[in-house]
């Protein structure tokens, strides 16, 4: 869209660089505390439990070799001690993973935020100041006074195309960073990194065009059936329409495979109707079998590995998305309320002005969305550690569907980062709150998709 409104000084964009520095500092601090400090402690505990398990296992194996107990007897004290030690080791490993992955995710997430907002701020601060401002509307985008389309979306799409062209090599190169057995060359990162750079440039230019927007010059549809509506709003609804189809493909694929799988629930309710599925050994394990209490994945003592704590990240994420949906509504409500008054008490100190209130509601939304990503990756790390990998059909559809949703959350967070920046600089009010409103539609859709994904993949 064209930027219509006040001029934005180049120095304003320098605040974006400061914001990037602040965000990166938070990420590094989070990584230092969670991913290094606590994770190292947990690693020591894991090593201790591993030795404990080795000792218990050896004691059991010696007893079996000596013939004092049977290897098939799962009621002996030594077998139970071995399996309990194994469970303790698994728990210690998962606890270590929780902090390590949380810390690393915070670092990478904030590095991503800092890259977008910092590079965007730097690029925009470096641009020559517009010289065509000064008419009645104060146009200040530097490209003339008439309405015009923005090139940013198509540059953005081009960047995504370049990134995806290099993605296979990019993945191999990333694997090589984590795994010594994978061989890769630095050049394999080239195409995708070029794509990422184009994306950053497009996004920063998009922001450059939008930041001066204070509510004048919104383009209005002139023909039926959306006559009188904002074109951006109509476009967003059409976009949401296509997004519904994207998630429907994941869901229908999952449903297609799921109806064929001999899961525990299906087996117990089928009266033996599943061909080739005679016992629990034949059960197909889905993500929910690892996560929900009473799931089909069992430990050596015959107990389900899923319990309250394994379901907790998914549960918290569900609440986090719902709360974030509400905070974005509050941000919009506050921005649109010309008669807004500061609340009393501690909330009044947090939100002394309307501008601060909108910004803080957006920050709350950003933090809740970030929490979603962190917990998502913690949960994935637990599932992979327990053997639920992408190498299986049920793992593939789970990671692709929940990963696509997570990607939507991440993209939303990058946009939200910009909204926080705008709320902190230009500010939102009843005239230009469309930015929050239209982003809110996207964010609510992400919440809506989770309403389907969560019960289908985590609970059922």
């Amino acid at each position: 869209m064209s930027g219509h409104g006040n001029d934005v000084a180049n120095s304003t964009w320098l605040r974006a660089i400061m914001m990037a520095g602040l965000i990166l500092t938070i990420g590094v601090a989070g990584f230092a505390v969670l991913g290094v400090g606590i994770a190292d402690q947990k690693h020591h505990t894991w090593e201790d439990e591993h030795h404990h398990y080795d000792d218990a296992k050896k004691e059991w194996q010696d007893a079996v070799a000596a013939g004092t107990i049977s290897g098939e007897d799962h009621d002996t004290e030594l077998y139970i001690a071995k399996e309990e030690a194994h469970n303790d080791e698994v728990a210690a490993h998962l606890s270590y993973l929780t902090y390590r992955v949380a810390g690393m995710t915070m670092l990478f997430l904030t590095a991503g935020y800092a890259a977008f907002i910092g590079l965007g701020g730097f690029l925009n601060a470096s641009k020559p100041k517009a010289d065509d401002h000064g008419d009645d509307h104060g146009h200040g985008d530097g490209y003339g006074d008439d309405h015009h389309g923005s090139a940013s979306p198509i540059i953005f799409a081009f960047g995504i195309m370049v990134f995806l062209m290099g993605l296979p090599d990019f993945i191999v190169a990333c694997k090589a960073l984590l795994d010594d057995t994978v061989v890769a060359e630095l050049g394999m990162l080239g195409v995708s990194v070029s794509g990422l750079l184009i994306i950053v440039i497009a996004v920063s230019n998009w922001w450059f065009e939008d930041l001066p927007f204070i509510g004048h010059g919104e383009q209005i549809a002139t023909s039926y059936p959306f006559e009188g509506d904002h074109i951006r709003k109509v476009g967003l609804w059409v976009f949401i329409m296509s997004e519904i189809m994207v998630f429907a493909t994941f869901f229908s694929s999952y449903l297609r495979m799921r109806t064929e799988w001999c899961t525990k629930w299906a087996f117990e309710n089928s009266d033996g109707g599943f061909e080739g599925c005679q016992s629990s050994d034949d059960w197909v394990l889905t993500a929910s079998d690892y996560l929900r209490p009473g799931g089909a994945k069992i430990d050596g003592l015959g107990n389900s590995v899923g319990d309250f704590w394994t379901l907790l990240p998914g549960g918290i994420n569900t609440f986090a998305l719902i709360i974030s949906s509400y905070t974005i509504v509050l941000a919009l409500k506050t921005a649109k309320n010309a008669n807004w008054e500061a609340p009393k008490g501690i909330m009044g100190k947090l939100m002394p002005t309307r501008k601060a209130a909108v910004r803080n509601y957006l920050i709350a939304t950003l933090m809740l969305g970030s929490l979603f990503i962190v917990l998502k990756l913690v949960e994935w790390s637990h599932l992979v550690a327990e053997g639920f990998t992408i190498g299986t059909v049920q793992g593939s559809i789970f990671y692709i569907a929940t990963g696509a949703h997570g990607l939507h959350v991440f993209i939303g967070l990058v946009i939200m980062l910009y909204l926080v920046f705008k709320a902190d600089t230009i500010g939102f009010d009843e005239d230009n709150a469309q930015g929050i409103e239209y982003f809110g539609l996207y964010w609510h859709f992400v919440d809506l998709a989770w309403v389907v994904i969560f019960p289908a993949f985590y609970l059922y």
Binding site: F226, I240, E260, G315, S325, E437
Partner: protein, 121 residues
């Protein structure tokens, strides 16, 4: 966004929608977490869990779309835009998700043009 001037017990519709979403999510988790109805010996069957998950999903979906996305206050063409893809979603759920249990090799011929290419390659 649609302006909801009406207050219920001093709070607007967004607040109550938020509360309903939170409570129903708790209900959803509880249905899976408990194997019997708390305080009783009544088993929560698979069918009951199915019904609860679908029912709660519909309520939550409606709450988000109608109030948070304020479709309830929009004119019919926005509602039609939102509802239109659901026709295809329903078709996909039925056509791909719930039919042809024999798998992709058992799909009807019109759905597998030049299928020999995939099987003989």
């Amino acid at each position: 966004m649609g302006e909801h001037a009406n207050l219920y017990m001093g709070k607007d519709i967004y607040f109550w929608n938020f509360i309903v979403l939170m409570v129903f999510t708790l209900f959803e988790l509880g249905a899976v977490f408990f194997e019997t109805v708390p305080g009783t010996d009544i088993d929560i069957s698979r069918s009951a869990v199915w019904a609860i998950l679908i029912g709660v999903g519909i309520v939550k979906g409606y709450g988000i779309a109608a109030f948070f996305m304020h479709l309830r206050d929009e004119h019919k063409w926005f509602n039609i835009t939102f509802m239109f893809p659901w026709i295809f979603v329903a078709l996909m759920l039925w056509g791909i998700g719930l039919s042809n249990p024999e798998g992709v090799t058992g799909l009807p011929s019109w759905c597998t043009p030049d299928w020999s290419y995939a099987t003989e390659r």
